[in-house]
């Protein structure tokens, strides 16, 4: 079946430190166990949890077990690097996550009655504008004694800093954490819902197959 794998530069697996060969199979022996033993990869819907420098399409074979946020297989090989996951796409994804944090904060501000700042933050056209609007919104929320909204506006400011200084995995987490912090998020599991939205963005932007084959 076809799956995906984020690797560090040079096809290095983040946790095992193993270098995946450009061609040929990686194989494992013994009982497959999540996080312990087996060739690990992920489905499209898991992608946003495992962001790394290089994204590869991989083929998994032999026994394959679905795990929480991952797939574990007896054998795996690299098929092709997803070239679209380059510096440009990573920067775009980071900006999208900042925008998503701002949306969570804006929604919370509106529910708290801090509507002008909600509009300003929700309508900010770029991350510099989001940073300025977030700072103003945090102050307005504090003045209104709207603590959750104040915290979320702070997350929006944090998101700008993370997007600027660190790989996009950081700001993606901030977005999920912000969703989790909402007072009345419509989903039962806001963290997972936000991660799912991120994964959909990645699949669309990188034109990834959503179905294993």
């Amino acid at each position: 079946m076809i799956a995906y794998k984020f690797l560090e530069r040079g096809r290095i697996a983040r946790f095992s430190g193993r270098e995946w060969p450009k061609s040929g199979w990686l194989e494992t022996e013994g009982e497959l166990r999540e996080c312990r033993n087996g060739i690990h990869a992920c489905r499209v819907e898991d992608l946003s949890y495992w962001l790394g420098e290089e994204l590869w399409e991989v083929e998994l074979a032999g026994k394959v077990i679905p795990g929480k946020l991952k797939l574990v297989a007896e054998r795996g090989r690299l098929c092709a690097r997803v070239d679209g996951w380059d510096d440009v796409a990573q920067a775009e994804f980071a900006r999208e996550c900042v925008r998503r944090v701002a949306k969570h904060a804006s929604d919370e501000l509106r529910e708290a009655g801090v509507e002008d700042d909600a509009d300003a933050l929700g309508g900010a056209p770029d991350i510099d504008a989001i940073a300025a609007a977030a700072a103003a919104a945090a102050k307005a929320a504090e003045d209104a004694d709207a603590r959750v909204a104040e915290r979320l506006a702070g997350y929006a400011a944090d998101a700008v800093a993370w997007a600027t200084e660190y790989p996009p995995s950081g700001v993606a987490f901030v977005a999920a954490y912000a969703a989790q912090a909402r007072s009345n998020h419509p989903d039962v599991d806001p963290f997972a819902a936000e991660r799912a939205e991120q994964a959909r963005w990645l699949a669309d932007r990188l034109v990834l197959s959503r179905d294993g084959a």
Partner: protein
């Protein structure tokens, strides 16, 4: 299982168990997820991993008798 509970403090406390594969599966997963997004913990885990690998490369050598006696004496005094 919440995926947002693990903190940097948890990572520093459990890094040895993580590297030995000794954490329960859910904690192992949460540890991994934290390291993916936390640049500080990424560096920390890499440093500990490198240190352990370096120690494993050291030749096994028995301590000198005087050093061994000093360690045993210190242990006995501490009890």
């Amino acid at each position: 299982m919440s995926l947002v509970e693990l903190t940097c403090s948890h990572v520093t406390e459990s890094v040895t168990e993580f590297l030995e594969g000794a954490l329960p599966e859910d904690q192992q997963l949460r540890f991994e997820l934290h390291v993916v997004y936390c640049p500080g913990c990424t560096v920390f885990v890499d440093q500990i991993r490198s240190m352990v690998a370096g120690l494993e490369r050291l030749p096994a050598a028995a301590p000198a008798e005087a050093e061994r006696s000093a360690v045993v004496d210190a242990y006995v005094r501490s009890r």
